[in-house]
């Protein structure tokens, strides 16, 4: 299968082209050994199969950032298992000159290249006409005008994949023209396709690529020749710009000069204005939130109702034996737990894809950078963090739009601290029980204030954690943050759709299995106990071997941890609910119904009355006193009691390391905060 690497500047429409070429035949993973995301896609044309590898957007192959290092590691090493047979360079036809930097670097490396001039249709509308034949002759590679929006040139592009391209032109940057040290150093090594490849090998000596001894040898050589890698690369960049400026004098493109300001310039007058731009972004955030919170509620209810009906049908048809129960209450309930996330994931990805494809997301980075920087976050972190108020699961998936890995990981790590909608039922119940209602100024209720306080606790603790992790754990080399402002474009519906479908499928495949497995385990633990296995188990009214929650494994565990959680003001009943709500925080309410023998259909008042009069089995004080209530709410604010979040962090970071780190860290914080609050208030 022919391997094609897809490379281009950020925002050149690369991912749209990837979607157009591969459709739903996509798979996402990481580049081997590193944490940079890699999308693979397959397609066939004229009975030949192609493997398309999407690389991170980059302006240059010089390895400085994590993303560039990946591009460099693959393209500079013909022995690399991902080394492509063909490099498909995507350039924005309306911004061709900028992409010539990367393009000529790739050609100089001796790679088999093909240049696709994307967005040629909108270039034409702007009066930019490109002479692809002249460009092709000068670059020595095939050049094809395409548009992933209108499918212009896509056939020709696929045709070109079948041909073997040849590079015949002289190198753009002549190493012979560089400093003496550089020249001599490059002369010393052999076995490279081009002098430029040898140059790169010298300036970027990486022991993991060349072996330690070879690395030392070259470093000694560099020292002897007073060769500074960084300076050499800079010199090379300037030389390249000069070559491009010379090249650009040729009539590759003709421009109709227009005195009118472009739509982008006009739009940016508003959209990145310090005041209006920020206000508009707040409006955008509000819309995202509304979509995620309100709009997704309908399909989520439908899924719930549908699955409930299905489970009812199953029990009606098959009885309520042990296996049927396992299937209906264990498996089908677990499947429901996966499916309910789909509307929110689809909606969030649709909105993010629209913002990405239109070019607005870069403006978000620009607008929010100053505010998010002290916390080590990207401007783009704002959207997933805000989405976290609805649910951490789609939001963690939504961090994909943050290309810097460190910033993305930080966003993922702090997201579960944001007060999500699953905490709301717990907060509402506990506030109603433990917080006496007072009115300040006649209309500000104390209960509402406490709820607001808990939302603030979520945001403040998330940012504080980010700050600490940023300063403490993830110190790294300073990298520049320079980006080009792309022009605005209409997002392409088909590409947005493909993105949404692919992401939903990735979630179901990646995290779905874990969620299903954990929910079956939790169901088993809370429905069976040691008594289920004793020989004198009464089968009269319990022919399915299930036991009451209190006698179940989960119930017994809840009682066992009582001494450990007693300092927080909790007793065994809260112990049990801490275990069951690992499935999802809102399960707390259902567990309270069970433990206080209140039917789920009974009014909220009945449950609240029962809980209000409950006393702690150890101290005989009211269990849900002011101190006890605050302590419990703090525990739910900080602890990572959500298996779906853990599953999704695992599938996004590709290791159990980070979800376990989060689980332990947030659990310890929860214990500490609850203990402090209970000790102070009681």
């Amino acid at each position: 299968m022919k391997k094609i690497a897809l490379i281009g500047n950020p925002n050149c429409g690369k991912s749209t082209l990837f979607n157009v070429l591969t459709g739903l035949q996509q798979k996402t993973g990481n580049f081997p050994g590193v944490t940079v995301e890699r999308s693979l896609g397959q397609f066939s044309y004229d009975s030949e199969d192609f493997l398309l590898m999407d690389f991170p957007g980059t302006y240059s192959v010089n390895p400085k950032s994590e993303d560039e290092k990946v591009v460099y590691a693959v393209l500079s090493n013909p022995q690399h298992k991902d080394y492509p047979d063909l490099v498909l360079i995507v350039a924005d036809a309306t911004n061709l000159k900028r992409s010539l930097f990367l393009t000529t670097q790739l050609i100089d490396l001796g790679l088999n290249c093909l240049l696709a001039l994307n967005m040629s249709d909108s270039a034409q509308k702007k009066g930019i006409v490109t002479d692809t034949e002249l460009l092709s002759a000068e670059l020595g590679i095939p050049v094809i005008a395409i548009s992933s929006r209108t499918n212009l040139g896509i056939q020709a592009l696929k045709q070109a994949f079948k041909k073997e391209g040849v590079t015949t032109v002289a190198p753009f940057v002549d190493i012979a023209k560089m400093d003496e040290g550089v020249r001599k150093c490059v002369e010393q090594i052999s076995g490279f396709k081009t002098a430029y490849a040898a140059f790169h090998y010298v300036v970027n000596v990486q022991p993991e690529v060349v072996g330690k001894s070879a690395g030392t040898e070259i470093k000694q050589l560099m020292q002897a020749l007073l060769f500074d890698a960084n300076k050499a690369m800079q010199q090379e960049s300037i030389l390249r710009y000069k070559v491009i400026n010379q090249l650009w004098k040729k009539p590759f493109q003709t421009f109709k000069v227009s005195s009118q300001k472009s739509i982008t310039e006009k739009a940016d007058k508003l959209l990145i204005h310090p005041v209006f731009g920020l206000s508009i972004f707040l409006g955008v955030l509000f819309v995202v939130f509304q979509f995620l919170f309100t709009l997704s509620a309908y399909p989520m209810e439908w899924i719930d109702a549908l699955m409930l009906a299905l489970r009812g049908q199953v029990t009606d048809e098959l009885g309520d034996g042990l296996l049927v129960k396992l299937f209906s209450d264990g498996v089908l309930a677990g499947v429901t737990g996966i499916l309910v996330f789909i509307p929110q994931i689809a909606i969030l990805f649709m909105l993010i894809a629209i913002m990405e494809e239109s070019g607005y997301m870069v403006r978000v980075s620009f607008l929010m950078d100053r505010l998010m920087r002290p916390f080590g976050l990207n401007g783009r972190s704002v959207i997933p963090l805000m989405g976290g108020v609805a649910c951490a699961v789609p939001s963690i998936l939504g961090t994909r739009s943050i290309s810097n890995y460190k910033e993305r990981l930080l966003t993922i790590l702090i997201l579960p601290l944001i007060s999500c909608s699953a905490r709301l039922p717990v907060y509402s119940l506990m506030i109603a029980i433990s917080i006496p209602q007072h009115y300040f100024f006649g209309f500000i209720g104390s209960q509402g204030l406490v709820l607001l306080l808990f939302y603030l606790i979520g945001i403040v603790s998330a940012l504080a954690l980010s700050f600490v992790l940023h300063k403490g754990l993830f110190q790294q080399q300073r990298t520049a943050f320079v980006m080009e402002m792309p022009v605005y474009r209409l997002p392409q519906l088909r590409s947005v759709g493909i993105t949404v479908i692919n992401k939903v499928r990735e979630f179901v495949v990646g995290a779905g299995g874990i969620i299903l497995a954990i929910s079956i385990i939790l169901w088993t633990l809370s429905n069976f106990g040691p008594a289920s296995f004793s020989s004198n188990f009464s089968t009269e009214n319990r022919h399915d071997y299930t036991v009451e929650l209190e006698q179940s494994f989960a119930g017994i565990a809840g009682k066992k941890i009582e001494p450990f959680i007693a300092p927080l003001g909790f007793d065994w009943r809260i112990g049990i609910s801490l275990i069951t709500s690992f499935a999802a925080r809102e399960v707390f309410v259902g567990t309270m119904h069970t433990l206080f023998n209140v039917d789920e259909t009974a009014s909220d008042q009945t449950l609240m009355q029962a809980m209000k009069s409950a006393t702690n089995s150890l101290t005989h004080q009211p269990l849900f006193s002011f101190a006890g209530g605050i302590s419990l709410m703090l525990f739910y604010a900080f602890a990572l009691q959500c298996m779906s979040t853990l599953a999704v962090v695992k599938s996004e970071t590709l290791s159990w390391k980070w979800p376990l780190f989060q689980f332990v860290l947030m659990g310890s914080l929860a214990y500490l905060m609850s203990w402090l609050a209970f000790s102070l208030l009681n």
Binding site: F101, N230, M233, I238, I272, F366, V482, M485
Partner: protein, 79 residues
């Protein structure tokens, strides 16, 4: 007069004179900021950072701390 890029006022034009050697200088050069290029400060994000600049035909933005490494010479006629 040689000043840092971050000291330009909105609308002012200047010539890039030098890039101070640092971890970020290569990135800046690759983006087209190198001696001899004309640069114009277009504006800034909320709270004055990052800066929006025009180099050649392209509009870039960069952080103030990175802009400090770009030494420029103010063009006389751009006040």
């Amino acid at each position: 007069m040689e000043i840092g890029l971050h000291q330009l006022k909105e609308g002012q034009k200047a010539l890039v004179h030098a890039i101070i050697e640092s971890d970020v200088s290569l990135t800046l050069t690759e983006m087209g900021l190198f001696p001899g290029e004309e640069i114009c400060l277009h504006g800034a994000a909320p709270f004055g950072d990052p800066l929006l600049v025009k180099v050649g035909n392209t509009t870039l933005f960069l952080r103030k701390e990175d802009a400090k490494s770009v030494m420029v010479q103010l063009l006389e006629n751009s006040l």
